[in-house]
């Protein structure tokens, strides 16, 4: 059996008898839960944190790292408010375990604007088009929109609507969101 620790995370190559404790053999037949020491790369910075394996990326961001820009609307993958980028792709932080993203790079709404505060083209377009009201779905919308454009799914209004459908907005900012994504996509293309 080999068991190695890589970036604070246990990678397993299981023992013949199939007994582990987060990578280490124990006397029990199943490993028991322990706290994990994670190193997460978020917005280019490495954060060390000790969490139980069941902690989601969303709760790690909001409750442990105090990055509350990423919102919790449903905690069940049904609204898109928790959208962040992992290795540049949009995903839902509420259905992602924090442990899963160790070794990957996470971007949240707090990391989108330039160091000097220059807004991302999508952020600026959201402001100009009034693409939000209460603002609660907005970080998720913006993270989703940035990825939507990058994926090449902002070719027409119809395509934008479909590919932004995973972000609910109860204030009903949808037509303005479409306008903002269209505008930002045009700006980024030119």
């Amino acid at each position: 059996m080999t068991s190695q620790t890589h970036a604070g995370q246990t990678i397993i190559d299981p023992p013949e008898d199939g007994q582990f404790r987060n990578g280490q053999a124990t006397n029990g037949s199943t490993p028991s839960p322990t706290t994990l020491s994670l190193h997460l790369t978020i917005n280019g910075q490495t954060h060390a944190l000790e969490v139980e394996p069941r902690v989601t990326l969303l709760d790690a961001l909001r409750e442990r790292l105090h990055l509350t820009g990423t919102k919790k609307g449903c905690d069940q993958g049904q609204c898109g408010a928790c959208t962040v980028h992992v290795d540049g792709e949009r995903v839902l932080a509420c259905l992602t375990l924090a442990a899963q993203v160790e070794g990957r790079s996470v971007t949240t709404i707090e990391g989108l604007a330039g160091e000097d505060g220059t807004l991302n083209a999508v952020q600026a377009a959201f402001l100009e088009q009034d693409a939000f009201q209460c603002g609660y779905c907005t970080p998720g919308q913006i993270m989703s929109a940035v990825a939507c454009i990058r994926e090449g799914h902002a070719g027409s209004d119809e395509e934008i609507r479909e590919y932004m459908a995973g972000n609910l907005c109860r204030c009903g900012a949808y037509p303005h969101i479409v306008a903002a994504v269209r505008q930002a996509a045009q700006e980024l293309r030119s």
Binding site: T34, E162, N167
Partner: protein
Amino acid sequence: MRDFSYLRADSVEAARNAAALPGAMLLAGGTTLVDLAKCGVAEPSTVIDVSHIEGLNAIDVNSDRAIIGALAKMSHVADHAAVKSQFPAVSEALWQAASAQLRNMATIGGNLMQRTRCPYFRDPANFPACNKRAPGSGCSAIGGITRGHAVLGTSEACIATYPGDLAIALVAFDAEVDLGERRLKIEDFFLAPGATAEQEHDIRPGEIITAIEIPGSAAARRSTYLKVRDRQSYEFAAASAAIGLELEADGRTIRDIRVALGGVATKPWRARSVEDALKGKALDEASVRKASELAMEGAVDHGANHYKIALAPRVIARAILKLGETA
């Protein structure tokens, strides 16, 4: 969510061994597992993260077949140029599923393993009776809210609808699932509830899906997936159809046709009676509509889901007609 230990597997072998542990569950994209753990439906004692295993996400397509690694993401398969051209129904089933974010997380292997959206199944605290969750406990859905429940393949034990989209296209085109030691036809991989509602897949402890393979065909190349639902997007199907069509050189006689149904059955449902009725016949609206009705042979409703019996054949017919128009 009860606590569990987290293990990361870096090879299929390691994952297989770990998966054989009692209470262990694989974690790929997590969009089913983490969700169900929050609902209190899944209670793994160990979670084996397979998402970092290298080499399991390949998408390899030619005109003879597609081989898609179990860890390939739904979004990547949907947007894959060769999948779009050789297997349009597969791409369409994928991009109409869930949301862009979920498709970036969810894997093909995990997708086949997703569980029903029966609201009673998903709420153990309020509805203890569910044969799928707790064999022998009864079925809370029967006699309750059944608008989304199945009309085909149901049993007295369970009437839960198979919710996925991709597998509908896969059964239409005779795909196979690769479990390493075993290979199964997708149709056989999914199990109707019968008296054992808890058994949804023919998969054994320690087995892992490594890939799916879809044979290429003229019907697969000319195929589509039509999904009907209350909401335009981000919703499971009320009824859906995956159709493949091959016409004779005359451009109207049906040489090969594949018909599979989603949203109305307890498992991905191949409608061979519709296929048989249409093979060799001319493609015209009246005969397509008539043949599509055959898909509902043996359908049983539970009240609020009655509409599915009328709806599903229309979805089949419209999908066939749409393919016919794009000659």
